[in-house]
Amino acid sequence: MPIGPPFTPDYRKGQLTAIRKLRKNPRVLFVRLPYILSLVCIVAGIAWLLLLPLDEYSRRTYISENALLPGQVHAYFSGSEQHVFRGYKQELEGLIPGEDQEKGVSKADAQFTSEVSNKVQSILSAAGLKVATQAYEYTSSGITHQGENTYAIIRAPRGDATEAIVLVAAWRTADDELNLNGVTLALTLARYFKRWSLWSKDIIFLFPPDSKTGTQAWIDAYHDMQPASVQPLPLKSGALQGGVAMEYPFDHRFESLHISYDGVNGQLPNLDLFNTAVSIASGQMGIGANLQEMWNHNDSYEMRLQTMLRGMVKQGFGYATGAHSSFMPYHIDAITLKTKGEGWQDEMALGRTVEGLCRSLNNLLEHLHQSFFFYLLMQTNRFVSIGTYLPSAMLIAGNFTIMAIALWMRTGFDMDTQSGPTAVSTSAPKEKTSSSSEARSSKEKESATPSPEPSGIMERQLALPLTLVGGLHLLGLVPLYVFNNLSYKVSPIPQVQQLNSMTFLSISNKQQHYTMATYICIAANAILPTLLAAVLSSLGFTTPKPQQYLLIKSFSLLLLGLFLSTLATLNFSLSFMIGLLCAPLTFVSRLNPQTTSVGLRYALSTIGLLVLNLLSPPVVLLGLCWYTGVSVEHVLTQAAFGWDVWGMWTQVVVWCVWWPAWISGCALLGFSLF
């Protein structure tokens, strides 16, 4: 019975009937519109991203912080300092084992031995700095990483010791090359800076043995957050205001500087720091600056897009790209300057650039805060900020939410009592699970039958869908645990792996636990959804009602949409990538046995399952490894290392957001088979 006043005027009656009609037949609203909206969202999200490199949507970079004043000081690091540099270099080279073909020893493999460390310490002490060391040890994937950081502090002669700048020169670069020139340069700079009286902040020179573990151990200990296996720091200074890492991994002159800025988990340093580095390097010193390994950037649309996408991939994976990356979680802005190419710039030019950067950072009155922390760079002088790019990932995340809400509303309506309550699979892209012709036929059927239902309100049965979706999300913890704790066993005794895992991997790739685990995971992914569907359908009391299929999809997509839109504000790139990979999940649902013939149903769901399996997390991982030529072992060891040492969260998103949503989608298709 319609509820309303007893005497309703005629025109109101007319309106009410119109509304009632719409409520009685909400097929357009609940079934067709959400698919269209979701598709539009996805397309618009991708189109938005592709528009960003255009001049109209990106902006030129600029220095926001007035105090930085990049390039306004004359850098005096030259002349006699070069002799000091050569002297130090000779001293250090004497400690490195020479080339020996017979023993297979290469100079490039030289490690940060205690002799080198002692030499570095004696040079720093002689220059009048306070020196200290810190030993650390990390274990990940059964590999032990241990080393000893050496560092020294110049106390600001006229400043209060409340703030400090860090200069990092790792003995081995992020690409595991010998950084002899970088370390020597840092030593020379330490001696040179010590003689200036204009520092308002302490300057810390840090010499970690490698770029992966050393800075992490040091910065953790600096903030008293270190694990038990890492020693506390005997010597500390004030709050760190910025960091610059130097890499000069060859002996010839260089052409340009490569600036890395990505931090762990896609965190970025303040854009002002990057801009200052670019401004000093190219503006003042006349050294070209590059980013994201784009060596021949001609500022065209394609190049900008490529730069941006490379940045997004690094941000999305969330791994450390250099010694600077470990600083980011502590809100310390840091970058790495790496020399590149063969040109006419010598180590003094890099030294002057670092001097200029230090003078700019020295000018700071407060922590870098003026400029952006969320940005995508597409050229050294072009960027888009979060306000411009965020809608892209938000639209993609929003498509899941729209579908989830629509499905929730649809489950509350008994739309076709005549043909029995049913979930109707509707139009989707042709290569996806259900064909549009099938949907059209079902729609014709619907329109042919009148809908004389009395109330149109259905009770939702939530227990099974909630349990299933919640359970699947909890199940994601299993692969998360397994992949992070798998041991990279080579021999029964865990080998103490001194420094680099790359060479290690190349030596012994016989037992590939990680590859094995990946294949097992792929197999499990192929079986699990169908198995789940079969078990649930065969057990009488758990057989889902047609409404519950929709509710499973609704909850799964709702969680996915929530997670991704939240993630978009923290790590835009990861959210965008996972959103794209999950996009087909919006359009898959259980095929209705009453509207689809058995043969067609089996064929469609099998094709759908195959397509979805190609988009499962482990298969995507394999595909990427195959495309980039990196071994799966390496990627997964790095991921586990990231989890154990850097606090990387990418795996959590993969296994606890992406994977459960993927399993839910596959399971819905699997239900069509039974």
């Binding site: 105090a67 000081v73 004359h74 600001a156 006229r158 308002s200």
Partner: protein
């Protein structure tokens, strides 16, 4: 005038006549009279990268000191200490030119308001002299109705405001009201207002009190730019407008005898060099631009004091002429009273009722009475002398008798 003159000639007071002669015999030029020069030099921004604002002010400080204004008449407000900043490559110095020829911080500098004392409130209280009694003289603007005041401000500003430090700003109306109040309290004779900041010319748009000439570095929606940076100090050391004003003052106004005028200075503005449109406001000045242009620069930047005490022809209340006329009027009144009294005593027939009805006259008469010589005692001096002499004779007789009678019988 002549009757007054005659009257005064007859007056007994010689000083009065001399004073009046002084007034009449010195018919000096009308309005350029001032008796002291004061300068209020304000930088409103702190932090190392604003080095140039402090250098601006210190440069001007040096100029006004060179032209003779003593430290006691300069109020210098510096919100930060660049000389002692750890970032300063040349500790203890401030330079306004990359050649670093002149250390502006030098060894003879008196900063009156420093650091966080430089606030809008302190600045307004300084101008209007609304300060506690215990505020020392060095922090007070002791100007009076005869003072020419130079107010120079620099910092970061915008449309009708100037930022003070990082926390507050002064509005164009605040400044106009402060100057208005200064005028009412006779705290300046003429005032030259100079400001170097972005959109500086908007700061003087609301001024309403008379005798102000205002000039600024840039028009609405224009930035004021720095002139050049020092590559060793690492910051810009001076602003463009101030740089060219100083260049003019330093090279042209070489001594206090300089006859260069405000007009000359303002004509030297070159927009191509300054990179913004400097502005000048004349309309508050009596005589407008024509008169204003004739003021010499040392009237404001120097310490030129005219010897004459006051403006003879001014007729404002409080001026010397007014005072003299008042004194003359009083003298005449007393003379009339004197004559009346003389008549009254001569006739000796004056009515007591008249005296009672005029208490002023009573007191006047009483005063006259006390002046008269009065005899204090009744006896005559001869009687006293006779008495004394007889007493002495009696004593002498007693002594004589005693010496004869008491002689030993031997």
């Amino acid at each position: 005038m002549s009757s007054l003159f005659n009257l005064l000639l007859r007056a007994p007071s010689l000083i009065l006549i001399l004073l009046l002669l002084l007034c009449v015999l010195l018919p000096t030029p009308v309005s350029s009279e001032h008796t002291s020069n004061w300068a209020v030099l304000v930088s409103t921004s702190r932090f190392w990268f604003n080095y140039r604002h402090l250098a601006n002010v210190l440069s001007l400080y040096r100029t006004v000191k060179r032209l003779g204004i003593p430290d006691s008449q300069i109020i210098l407000m510096l919100p930060d200490d660049m000389a002692c900043n750890p970032r300063n490559a040349f500790p203890g110095t401030v330079y306004s030119n990359a050649d670093r020829a002149v250390d502006l911080y030098g060894d003879n500098i008196e900063v009156d308001y420093r650091g966080y004392e430089v606030t809008v409130e302190n600045f307004l209280r300084l101008l209007t002299d609304r300060l506690d009694e215990d505020v020392p003289r060095s922090k007070r603007l002791g100007s009076d109705a005869g003072s020419n005041v130079l107010v120079y401000m620099t910092g970061h500003g915008g449309d009708q405001f100037l930022k003070f430090q990082d926390a507050e700003e002064i509005g164009a109306w605040d400044l106009a009201d402060a100057f208005g109040q200064m005028w009412e309290k006779k705290r300046y004779h003429e005032l030259l207002f100079m400001i170097d900041t972005c959109q500086a010319n908007t700061m003087y748009t609301h001024f309403y009190s008379p005798n102000i000439v205002a000039t600024g570095s840039s028009a609405l929606d224009q930035s004021s730019y720095s002139h050049h940076a020092d590559n060793d100090i690492g910051v810009a050391v001076i602003d463009r407008w101030t740089y060219y004003v100083l260049e003019f003052l330093e090279s042209q106004v070489t001594s206090t005898n300089s006859k260069l005028t405000l007009g000359d200075l303002f004509d030297s503005y070159d927009e191509a060099k300054i990179h913004s449109q400097p502005g000048v406001r004349w309309d508050l000045f009596p005589g407008g631009e024509q008169e204003g242009r004739l003021r010499t620069l040392v009237d404001f930047f120097g310490n030129v004091q005219n010897i004459e005490v006051e403006n003879a022809n001014a007729s404002d209340p409080g001026s010397l002429k007014e005072d003299l006329l008042e004194i003359a009027r009083l003298v005449e009144k007393w003379r009339v009273r004197d004559q009346e009294y003389l008549l009254a005593t001569r006739n000796d027939t004056s009515d007591m009722a008249d005296h009672l009805s005029e208490p002023a006259k009573v007191s006047y008469n009483a005063h006259k009475d006390t002046v008269q010589v009065t005899r204090m005692v009744k006896e005559t001096p001869w009687e006293k002398r006779a008495l004394g002499a007889s007493a002495l004779l009696a004593c002498a007789a007693a002594w004589f008798a005693g010496s004869i009678l008491g002689q030993p019988s031997a």
